[in-house]
Amino acid sequence: MPLITYRTALNQALAEEILRDENVVIIGEEVAQYNGAYKVTEGLWERFGDKRVVDAPISEAGFIGMGIGASMLGIRPVMELMFWSFAYVAWDQIINNAGQVRYMSGGLINCPIVIRGPANGGTNVGATHSHTPENFIANTPGLKVVCPATAYDAKGLMKAAIRDNDPVCFMENTLLYGESWEVPEEEYVIPLGVADIKRAGTDVSLIAHGRAVLTALKAAEILEADHGIHAEVLDLRSIRPLDEEAVLATVRKTHRAVLVDENKPFCGVSAQIAATIQEKAFDDLDAPVQRVCTLDAPSIYSPALEPIQLPTPERVVIKALDIC
């Protein structure tokens, strides 16, 4: 299988969907002539032209709202936010319009739109540029949210997101764009709402999404090598819909869980996972559920400190050792 980057995987998914469905259009700042601020859309404008790949001015509320409106007519816009942190400018459009119009119309309308872009800390860009709003989105029934951790998942989930008939918020990670994974050449689609065991184990479940999955995998290696503990790593992949069964199954198998989450702890994704586990697998637990989140403050700039604000493998190991 060819090794390709997370960025190329997304690029391939976009190109394939543009070819497959004439209603797919890519819109965003610098996506066309500049090739994308993070080069996810590289070459697409040259290949598919002005109609399918559109540069927008810095008017997120306007163009995201426009995409939502167009999706009501059956267009399938894939909107790029240069950073998910800039979504707040368009928040009303995303939450109130994309999120509520189906319900308020009694099911008469649906919005097959994808809003995508990076949502991560860890690059010293400061508090305004380091938001991870997957928990906010997941708190809004009507919206879907996915956070792929690998190139393979990014490609398969992107194709599913574009074909989905509901609004899907797709959260990438600038620290992953350049990382490579094996990705098959044949077409595949990964359904939303299906988690994936990234490493099998028996002693403790490390449950994560997005880049935190890689942190969990590193922690699992340390636990194995230094402590003889076999950790299982479950990648949620999709936050809403959520693969609750997979969460419960891994906990029933290992009886212990450490949740690794780049959200801030208060009402973060891991808070929902913890609630689910205690409600539905309480009797299977041999220890309290533990969490490792981003330290609870705005994202600090200082390059010396930001790395310790995010979850680290070391913090995960400590939490795992506490309960194993």
């Binding site: 700042e29 610098e30 002539q33 500049y34 090739n35 601020a37 540069d55 001015p57 810095i58 008017s59 997120e60 509320a61 306007g62 942190s85 800039f86 707040y88 400018v89 690059t123 010293n124 860009v125 400061g126 508090a127 305004t128 540029h129 801030k264 702890p265 208060f266 969490r291 989140c293 330290l295 609870d296 403050a297 705005p298 600090i300 700039y301 200082s302 390059p303 010396a304 400190l305 930001e306 310790i308 604000q309």
Partner: protein, 361 residues
């Protein structure tokens, strides 16, 4: 400058404008030195960025210095400034400590924001400097609010709110213009038109072809366009706006034509793709605001080439000291991550100790 853009029809010598003719030699020389301080500071910052000593983004202001200094040089006690992420020029122009500014870039505890904000997020309320904002046009309603506050308190002052040619396309800016006109707020929007928002030229982002300030017409706000390479012109036209704000509490939109020599940020890999190397060279050679100001002062016999070189040497020395200070400073302590989040907690007030404010371990 295309003639369709400016209201003035005949070439005007802005040196003769009242606000400029009153300037003494010492002040003119100080402006030269201040602009050089901005440039040399950023050149050193660029070096550290390339050496990996700082993280994140670095948006250089090099080429635009006359805009920050020309406008800020007119500020009085009750005048305020707010800008976007390309903020080093305005910060140094208002008199922020160069050492603290450099230390902030390196994320040190001695930085102006204690290493918390970085290059895009400088603040100095004691200098009436309210940031340093990372979200495009996010500062435009805040600038309106500073003007509102000044008026509310019954003070004679205004807010200079800077934004880019790309930022004018944000809704928050337009909402601000309407409110400014409706409530007669003394805010001056200074559009620093450096011709590009990242890789997008004005032609590809603005429906209105002529100029950006003209949009103010739609809100009944007075506007003008200034040539940003002419320090005297920037000052003369800004002063006109400030006077209206002070005397009549009226908003103004001033578009200043300028140019950035470097990429959008230093990480901009396409900096020489969406515009030609010749275009950049042309601006550096013929339109450099510092070079033109220096020449002007030499022509006016305010400055000699030798004294200009001496000033430059002194500025370089100051920047080197600031850099050394930043390098020698300590990183912030890990526990400071949780400081500066809530005023009540930092100040250990009663409410700051009621209930839990922080979560996690």
């Amino acid at each position: 400058m295309s003639e369709t853009k400016t209201a003035a029809t005949e070439p005007v010598d802005y040196a003769r404008a009242e606000i400029n003719s009153a300037l003494g030699a010492a002040e003119k020389i100080r402006f030269f030195s201040e602009m050089l301080r901005i440039r040399r500071f950023e050149q050193t910052a660029l070096k550290y960025y390339n050496q990996g000593k700082m993280g994140g983004f670095l948006h250089l202001y090099i080429g635009q210095e006359a805009v920050a200094l020309g406008t800020v040089s007119l500020m009085g006690k009750n005048d305020h400034v707010i800008t976007a992420y390309r903020d080093h020029g305005h910060a140094l122009a208002v008199g922020m400590d160069m050492k603290a500014c450099m230390a902030e870039l390196l994320g040190k505890a001695t930085g102006c924001s204690r290493g918390k904000g970085g290059s895009m997020h400088y603040f100095a309320p004691d200098k009436n400097y309210w940031g340093g904002h990372g979200i495009v046009a996010g500062q435009t309603p805040l600038g309106l609010g500073l003007a509102y506050g000044v008026k509310y308190k019954g003070l004679k002052g205004c807010c200079l709110c800077f934004l880019g040619d790309g930022a004018v396309n944000q809704g928050s800016y337009h909402e601000s213009l309407n409110l400014a006109a409706l409530w007669k707020l003394p805010v001056i929007y200074v559009i620093e038109n450096n011709q590009y928002s990242m890789g997008t030229s004005m032609e590809r982002s603005s429906a209105m072809r002529n100029c950006l300030a003209e949009r103010a017409e739609g809100y009944g706000i007075a506007w003008d366009v200034a040539n940003g390479e002419d320090f005297y012109e920037v000052r003369a036209k800004t002063w006109n706006a400030i006077r209206r704000a002070h005397d009549e509490s009226l908003p103004f939109v001033l578009e200043v034509d300028t140019y950035r020599y470097y990429g959008h940020s230093v990480a901009d890999a396409n900096a020489k793709k969406y515009r030609s190397a010749d275009e950049i060279e042309h601006y550096k050679t013929h339109h450099d605001p510092i070079r033109l100001w220096r020449k002007r002062l030499v022509d006016e016999k305010v400055l000699t080439e030798e004294s200009a070189d001496e000033i430059d040497a002194a500025v370089k020395q100051e920047v080197a000291e600031a850099a050394q200070f930043a390098l020698d400073s300590e990183d912030p302590a890990p526990e400071t991550i949780f400081e500066d989040v809530y005023w009540e907690v930092d100040n250990q007030t009663e409410v700051g100790q009621t209930g839990r404010h922080f979560f996690g371990d």
